[in-house]
């Protein structure tokens, strides 16, 4: 790694101040599980490192009937995985976390760090986008709120300006009769996704149809992507075998994976189809069992 100046601010305001001072020359570090790899490979060489990991009270996981689930940017994967609250109300997030990397990485890595790293094959973004998450971004200039879906702009890039920090993630309360799941295809257990599909479906039990849904794909584009055409084919419709297959086919066509070490583009599309089919079935089952 190249050398750098190290700061450990005590408050988020201090962090913002430092960031506004050093801008592009600085990087914010939380768990460091992604950033340090980039720095060791010399792909990223900040002159200033702002360590926000020790800022107190930023790792909360709490629930509020109006806002829904609130997760502080420093909540670790492990905290999310083991949180009773999440297991009760948003269990598929905990499920997803169990399969992220390894325990050691989950102990240090944070939700905020993961989102800001903006790896399109990351596992956290798709289910969160599927739940309509919003993120709060702060800087010395003020704060703003953005839908997580719009947060990612390209491979490893987000809407964050050089002086901005991600502060909080908020997930609106789940409507009744909603079920969600995230499935990923990988070569070896605990590997990152070769492709991944998150499906969050809200059922209308009276009419027996899918009232609303989001299908979000990982590793299928330069950012996590909504399979909107696929969604459109199922929204307000009966959820049954043939339609699920159709919708999955559309998702596999909408997806934009590239051939790489994880597999050929053709295989990845086939996996998107299979995973989407499975994800819809399971999310639908969960939606109706609540």
């Amino acid at each position: 790694m190249r050398n750098f100046e190290y700061f450990r601010p005590d408050t988020i305001e201090e962090a913002c101040f430092l960031l506004s001072k050093y801008k592009e020359k600085a990087k914010v570090i939380a768990g460091g599980q992604s950033l340090l790899i980039l720095m060791k490979e010399r792909l990223v060489n900040p002159s200033y490192l702002i360590d926000i990991k020790e800022i107190p009270d930023l790792d909360y996981i709490s629930y509020d009937p109006e806002e829904g689930l609130r997760i502080g940017v420093l909540a670790t994967h492990r905290q999310i995985e083991t949180s009773n609250l999440i297991q009760e109300r948003f269990n598929f997030l905990s499920e997803m976390e169990k399969k992220v990397a390894s325990v050691q990485i989950r102990n240090m890595g944070t939700l905020g760090g993961n989102l800001c790293h903006a790896d399109p094959c990351g596992d956290l973004a798709p289910p969160l986008i599927g739940m309509g998450a919003r993120v709060k971004i702060v800087s010395s200039r003020g704060e703003r709120s953005v839908l997580l879906e719009g947060f990612f702009t390209d491979y490893f890039e987000t809407v964050l300006e050089a002086d901005e920090i991600l502060a909080k993630i908020q997930i609106p309360d789940i409507s009744p009769h909603t079920g969600g799941i995230y499935l990923k295809h990988n070569l070896r257990e605990a590997d990152p996704a070769v492709v991944g599909v998150a499906a969050v479906i809200t059922a209308d039990p009276l009419r027996g149809i899918c009232q609303d849904l989001k299908i979000v794909l990982s590793a299928c584009a330069s950012t996590p992507m909504r399979a909107r055409r696929a969604e459109g084919a199922l929204k307000e419709k009966q959820v049954e075998g043939n339609r699920i297959k159709e919708v999955s086919q559309i998702a596999s066509e909408e997806a934009n994976p590239i051939s790489d070490l994880g597999g050929s583009e053709r295989y990845k599309r086939a996996m998107v189809k299979i995973l989407t089919e499975e994800a819809i079935k399971q999310a639908w089952d969960r939606a109706r069992s609540i």
Binding site: N3, F4, G32, L36, K40, L49, D51, Q104, I105, N107
Partner: protein, 153 residues
């Protein structure tokens, strides 16, 4: 680039040091403090040979800056045995033939300790999930699994 001061406890002993910010915890332990029981196998947090406990939680020290350990308690393999005795996990690994070349052993034992401290009666599946971040090339994991499962009180 200025060095920064660092205060931490390692294996129960307090340390006051100054380090270059870019020093990783693994480098600090191995090169500056000569606690070479912690190994480095890949540098990118994939093999787990660098696993140590930070406030009781297993972490990969090659992916943690030394300065991040400020004010924390670190346990390395050297600190595992109470004065003179070896930890039941160490004994189990020896007795079950779970050690061959030994390079992954310190990391394995510490990951296992973190698991058992949190969950004293894990199922085989839970042990596998907890140990997925520690690679071994010699043993095929069979006897490592046996050793860990044998330590449940």
């Amino acid at each position: 680039m200025s060095k920064k001061s660092l205060q931490l406890t390692i294996n129960g002993e307090p340390y006051e040091l100054t380090v270059e910010p870019r020093t990783t915890l693994a480098e600090l332990l191995r090169e500056e403090l000569h606690l070479t029981g912690t190994k480095e196998g890949c540098g990118i947090g994939m093999c787990g040979a660098c696993t140590v406990l930070l406030d009781g939680k297993a972490i990969k020290s090659c992916l943690v800056l030394a300065l991040k350990a400020n004010g924390k308690e670190i346990t390395t393999i050297e600190g595992l045995a109470a004065k003179g005795d070896i930890h039941p996990l160490q004994k189990a690994f020896i007795d079950h033939g779970a050690i061959q070349c030994g390079y992954c052993t310190p990391g394995m034992i510490l990951s296992a300790k973190a698991l058992l401290d949190e969950n004293p009666h894990p199922t085989e599946e839970e042990v596998r999930m907890a140990m997925a971040g520690n690679l071994c090339r010699c043993t095929g994991y069979v006897k490592i699994l046996e050793a860990i499962l044998s330590v449940r009180p």
